[in-house]
């Protein structure tokens, strides 16, 4: 961690890792999709549409992993003042938000044949929606503050507050759901998960995790370079000011 704190070392690490990590992602995704689509048996009740689960569940897991990463990075910014922590947090937010969005959309598509509508307010989907909103808040805060130092600290505080709140929100949403006794007792994961479904699920989860790491590293590299460009621009402007004097 300490040796990675140097942005230049980090950039060269990223450059070395990205090619073979991309290959890993492609292989895992290929294997996972093959297993999901052709090997796993269709559900006797839902037919082939159960296979949306192989995208929906890993996406949901990754969105939660992303927020955990942001919370840890927030500690890194506020407590240990790791120089790359705010870069990690800033770039993880859009990726985590996208995974949350994928989880929402696939959840909606999965439910349509069953419920007849594109959306029901069941506990899990609602919690995922609120997680998505938390992500949007982080992204909005990053966009709104120009000065990167202040933006990093503010987003770190917001990230920690959100992380602490997530269990509380989840509990309250579950309680709200039982209050209102929805008509459909359909559970997202099905009553039990058949073991034959577990292997494709874990392969897809591994694929998505590798994809997250890949995208995250690329995004961090881009952000570091973007900040360098900005610093260079400022130096140029200052030199122009000195040259005129």
């Amino acid at each position: 961690m300490i040796s990675l704190a140097n942005p230049t070392r980090f950039l060269s690490l990223v450059d070395r890792v990205v090619p073979w990590l991309s290959a890993v992602v492609v292989i895992l995704l290929g294997v996972g999709l093959y297993l999901s689509l052709f090997v796993a048996p269709p559900d006797y009740q839902q037919g082939e549409t159960v296979k949306i689960m192989f995208v929906h569940v890993p996406a949901a897991w990754l969105s939660m992993l992303g927020y955990t990463l942001i919370a840890i990075a927030a500690l890194g910014t506020l407590i240990w003042r790791h120089p790359l922590a705010d870069v990690a947090a800033k770039t993880a937010a859009p990726i985590g938000a996208t995974f949350a969005f994928i989880a929402l959309v696939t959840g909606s598509l999965w439910g349509k044949p069953m419920w007849g509508t594109y959306w029901v307010w069941d506990a899990r989907l609602t919690s995922m929606l609120i997680l998505f909103l938390l992500y949007l808040g982080l992204i909005a805060l990053w966009q709104a503050i120009d000065e990167p130092g202040r933006a990093g600290r503010a987003a770190a505080i917001l990230g920690l507050v959100g992380a602490i709140n997530i269990p509380i929100i989840k509990f309250s949403v579950d309680w709200w759901n039982t209050l209102h006794q929805p008509e459909s007792v359909f559970r997202m994961g099905g009553p039990t998960i058949d073991p034959s479904l577990l292997t494709p699920l874990f392969v897809m989860a591994a694929a998505f995790t590798a994809l997250f790491v890949l995208l995250h590293l690329i995004a961090m590299r881009a952000e570091i370079l973007r900040r360098r460009v900005h610093a260079l621009q400022q130096t140029q402007v200052e030199h122009a000011a000195l040259a005129e004097a």
């Binding site: 307010w121 609602t126 966009q143 709104a144 709200w176 759901n177 209050l179 209102h180």
Partner: protein, 222 residues
């Protein structure tokens, strides 16, 4: 004409470049719609019946909260002084800025509305009338917001004050806007009369609101 176009293009450019301002308005719309079922319960039939109302109220609030931007920025850095003494009459300046708000913020909100309608179980048959009604009504929303924005320039608590001033003026838009959508949801009344009234409200605001806004701006610039 090129002067008016230059002003319109500049304002839209600034709206898109200013740290996610449009995104925040869209995010706010999403949040307001998303928390309503948490307060009311997930009964899909209930949600479907109240969806038009929630979608319109959310849109009005999101548009209002982004309306402060219409003149505030230019007022604070002195640009409004120069715009006011340019070749374009001040009512036209005010009108162009309201138009820029409609194009950069109003229309994206309208595009988001059907997606949020999915969350509220709005019947998909109602989507076209929802979008058309909102497209007809949102010009009035932006232009009337412009009046409020010009009245509250530079004041403390201007955002809340703006909402307080403008929401009563929004009541006709809300009533006719919801009526233009609900026949698809609850009854066989025609959509046309409310829709045409919305168009009339928008046309009237486009013409009259800039005059009021310009008068308010002149007072603020003194």
């Amino acid at each position: 004409m090129s002067t008016v176009r230059a002003l319109l293009v500049r304002d839209i450019k600034l709206a898109w470049r200013e740290g996610g301002a449009v995104g925040v308005a869209l995010g706010f719309y999403l949040i307001v719609v998303a928390i309503t079922p948490l307060g009311l319960g997930p009964d899909l039939n209930l949600l479907a019946r109240i969806a038009p109302g929630i979608l319109w109220v959310g849109l009005l609030l999101a548009a209002l909260l982004s309306a402060g931007r219409i003149f505030e920025n230019d007022y604070e850095d002195g640009t409004l002084d120069v715009l006011a003494t340019g070749p374009v009459p001040l009512p036209v300046v005010a009108g162009v800025k309201c138009l820029a708000h409609w194009l950069s913020t109003g229309i994206p909100l309208v595009v988001l509305a059907p997606v949020l309608g999915l969350l509220l179980n709005l019947p998909m048959g109602a989507f076209p009338s929802l979008v058309l009604a909102m497209l007809a009504g949102t010009p009035a929303v932006s232009f009337i917001a412009g009046i409020g924005a010009s009245l509250t320039l530079g004041l403390r608590r201007s955002g809340l004050l703006l909402a307080l001033l403008v929401i009563p003026l929004y009541v006709p838009i809300l009533i006719f806007g919801v009526s233009a959508v609900t026949p698809y949801v609850s009854g066989p009344n025609s959509v046309w009369p409310p829709f045409l009234i919305l168009c009339a409200l928008s046309l009237a605001s486009v013409v009259l609101a800039p005059i009021a806004a310009a008068a308010a701006l002149r007072t603020a610039l003194r």
